[in-house]
């Protein structure tokens, strides 16, 4: 088990190595992500993936000949703390901050970083407002947006049923409400004759869903859509309690919320759920991508695990920033952002990727189900 102390120790040891090897001043890269609380375990995995990518970049000569030194901070999934940690990183002289698990934390920190003229790259947070904020006109995000994800879920449901009763079980925050709104809009756009039998909202940290399962049963749904990004505790708890209630309606989880750790934690209760995601290390087109193969091998060498989607997004954030900085031969926020927004970046973990002019990365989706405790990819 990776404890916080061992992670910090390994990080400190790691950050000292490149200095000796390069003899050049390291370029500091800040990372803010939850390392404690409900998303703490996933946050640690993201940090490990970023460390693996930093090792690969440093092994290739660093960024413009300078090794990468990572400064990792725990935002505790709390906007006020995220801001404090962002200011701490600004004080430390970072060239870029890779941030974002919770949308409210990203929304709070991005303006602080923008005011200090420090580039921030959003790794995971999904709220649509992140790229629409006037306070950060140079925003860049790797994870898919709510609107993109909503279309995937709606298309999947349309392929299974043309009408029926749908229950939403949605976390009541920027991410959850945005995701539900997007899916409902897609229903209307595609003329799907669904009845929203219930719309159940809960706080992000909730782990007791017995009241919700009772309400779901009463609503007699044909399908239950779960929008729950609390993968450390909330989603596994919901899946287990829903399975115990023996309601029977299939569960569709919103895009990107079912990581391998959720399947592991939920156990047999995860079997039968359907979802979609943007990265699977051993599925095509990623399995045949040599850049991804090298990253996966580094993860297995350093941490003896396969990276999940979140780890890949964290590592790709660092990789894309390094490529953009090297391309413009500068760490200047505007120059680096200009080399990403509206541009194609070749040779990443995700293959050759394109960013739209608003800074959103495009994605290839795979629909999957969980069978016998394993993720079974149904198709792209």
């Amino acid at each position: 088990m990776i404890t916080r102390r061992s992670a910090i120790g390994a990080l400190a040891a790691f950050s000292m190595l490149p200095r000796a090897a390069f003899g050049a001043d390291a370029v500091k890269v800040g990372v803010t992500i939850p390392l404690s609380g409900g998303a703490g375990r996933q946050g640690q995995d993201v940090v490990n993936a970023i460390k693996a990518m930093a090792s690969l970049i440093n092994a290739d000569g660093g960024v413009m000949g300078r090794p990468i030194e990572l400064l990792v901070r725990d935002d505790e999934s709390t906007p006020a703390i995220g801001i404090a940690k962002a200011n701490d990183l600004i004080s430390s002289g970072v060239a870029v901050v890779l941030e974002g698990w919770n949308s409210p934390v990203t929304l709070a920190t991005q303006s602080v970083l923008a005011r200090a003229n420090v580039l921030d790259i959003t790794m995971i947070s999904k709220a649509d407002a992140i790229l629409a904020s006037a306070s950060n006109p140079l925003a860049v995000r790797l994870n898919s947006a709510n609107a993109q994800d909503a279309a995937v879920i709606a298309q999947y449901l349309a392929s299974k049923m043309k009408s029926g009763r749908v229950v939403f079980v949605t976390e009541n925050d920027a991410y959850g409400n945005g995701a539900q709104k997007g899916i409902e809009a897609e229903f209307k756009k595609n003329n799907l004759n669904y009845t929203i039998a219930a719309s159940l909202k809960f706080p992000f940290s909730q782990t007791d869903f017995r009241i919700e399962t009772t309400s779901i049963r009463a609503a007699k749904p044909d399908v239950v859509i779960s929008i729950n990004a609390n993968e450390g505790a909330g989603l596994p708890a919901f899946l287990q309690q829903y399975a115990q209630a023996n309601i029977g309606a299939p569960v569709v989880c919103s895009v990107g919320t079912v990581s391998p750790s959720v399947v592991e934690a939920a156990g047999p209760a995860a079997n039968g759920l359907t979802s979609a995601d943007i990265y699977f290390p051993q599925a095509q087109p990623y399995a045949s991508n040599p850049v991804n193969q090298r990253f996966v091998a580094e993860m297995q060498k350093q941490f003896k695990v396969l990276p999940d989607k979140f780890g890949a997004l964290g590592a790709a954030s660092l990789q894309i920033w390094a490529k953009a900085a090297a391309k413009v031969k500068s760490f200047d926020r505007k120059a680096v952002a200009g080399a990403i927004r509206g541009q194609e970046i070749q040779g990443t973990i995700f293959g050759d990727v394109r960013f739209d002019p608003h800074g959103q990365m495009s994605h290839h989706y795979n629909i999957f189900t969980v069978k016998d405790g394993k993720i079974d990819i149904l198709g792209g």
């Binding site: 916080r4 409210p104 303006s111």
Partner: protein
């Protein structure tokens, strides 16, 4: 002016001037400025609760709502309506007074545990309204609050970075402390204390307990709201996290840990908590353990707060 009054006044002024230069004395980094700015803002926020808790003897759990009201007023008026920070400040005060009046008329009929529970319920209702009302930004909140601009004519008074916010945050803190100082010497402050300590005597003296309680509640709300108003400009984003237990626990702990009723108590408490978090953090779990241990130790061994230990230490062991 007699020496007996002049010396404390001169001492307080010297301390206030020294305090202004504290960020520079501590190195002047972004982290130092940011920490001291939030200490000043969160202290002001806590003083709002301190008046109700220390002087009225009631534990209000609704003060996050007043803090958030000030922040939302600033965000809506500057982002959605392009109004100045001055207009937003006036709106923050008025909105918090209106909310305090509505809450006060309902909650101040109750006492002690029931009062706390009702005020907590009110804060939860406010949070749900903010989460689900598009006018307040819904669950996305309101992004893009502009830098603070209090310019008057040719005098430019703006702040975007933490070091630029310091004079305004410090001024707010000093004004708040002075206001609380004056309040405690006012007839309302004395009446509040009497209603708290001896309600029967207060009634016999002709005081209307409910009226006094409502007046104190109305006085306390704008203090927390002004802190929220400045916080909105400092962090440029206002969301429903402002109603979170993070701020509620911070407020309560800040007031209790140093000692209730102490003029500098909320400032000392907030400074202790935020400094530990910024400069001596042991990580999220470690910080919570430290905070919990200090709180338990303080309440068990010095129920009047850590400041009460000082005279005891001066006396030596009993």
């Amino acid at each position: 002016m007699s020496a007996g009054r002049f010396l404390p006044l001169a001492g307080a002024l010297a301390l206030a001037v020294l305090g202004f230069f504290l960020p520079r004395l501590l190195g002047g980094s972004t982290l130092v400025y940011d920490t001291l700015v939030v200490i000043a803002i969160f202290s002001a926020m806590s003083y709002g609760l301190d008046i109700v808790l220390s002087d009225l003897g009631e534990i209000s759990l609704a003060h996050t709502a007043f803090f958030a009201t000030g922040a939302y007023a600033a965000a809506i008026l500057t982002v959605s309506y392009g109004q100045s920070a001055w207009v937003a400040m006036a709106a923050a005060i008025l909105a918090s007074l209106a909310l305090a009046l509505a809450l006060g008329l309902i909650t101040l009929r109750t006492r002690e545990f029931a009062f706390s529970l009702v005020t907590y319920a009110a804060a939860i209702v406010c949070m749900n309204v903010a989460s689900n009302w598009d006018f307040l930004g819904g669950s996305d909140g309101i992004v893009g609050v502009p830098p603070l601009d209090l310019s008057i004519g040719p005098i430019t008074l703006t702040a975007g970075q933490s070091f630029e916010f310091w004079p305004y945050a410090y001024a707010l803190l000093l004004l708040t402390i002075y206001f609380v100082y004056r309040f405690r010497r006012s007839s309302l402050g004395q009446a509040a204390l009497m209603v708290h300590m001896n309600p029967r005597l207060a009634t016999m003296c002709g005081l209307d307990g409910n009226r006094v309680r409502l007046q104190v509640f109305l006085v306390s709300a704008p203090i927390s709201a002004l802190a929220g108003w400045l916080y909105a400009f400092q962090r440029s984003y206002v969301g429903t996290d402002l109603f979170d237990t993070y701020f509620l626990v911070l407020m309560l702990t800040s007031v209790i840990i140093a000692g209730r009723g102490l003029l500098l108590g909320p400032l000392m408490g907030t400074a202790l908590l935020m400094s530990q978090k910024s400069f001596a953090s042991l990580g999220a779990y470690g910080d919570k353990l430290v905070l919990g241990a200090i709180l338990v130790a303080a309440l068990c061994y010095s129920p009047r707060g850590l400041a009460a230990l000082w005279p005891r230490m001066r006396r030596g062991p009993l």
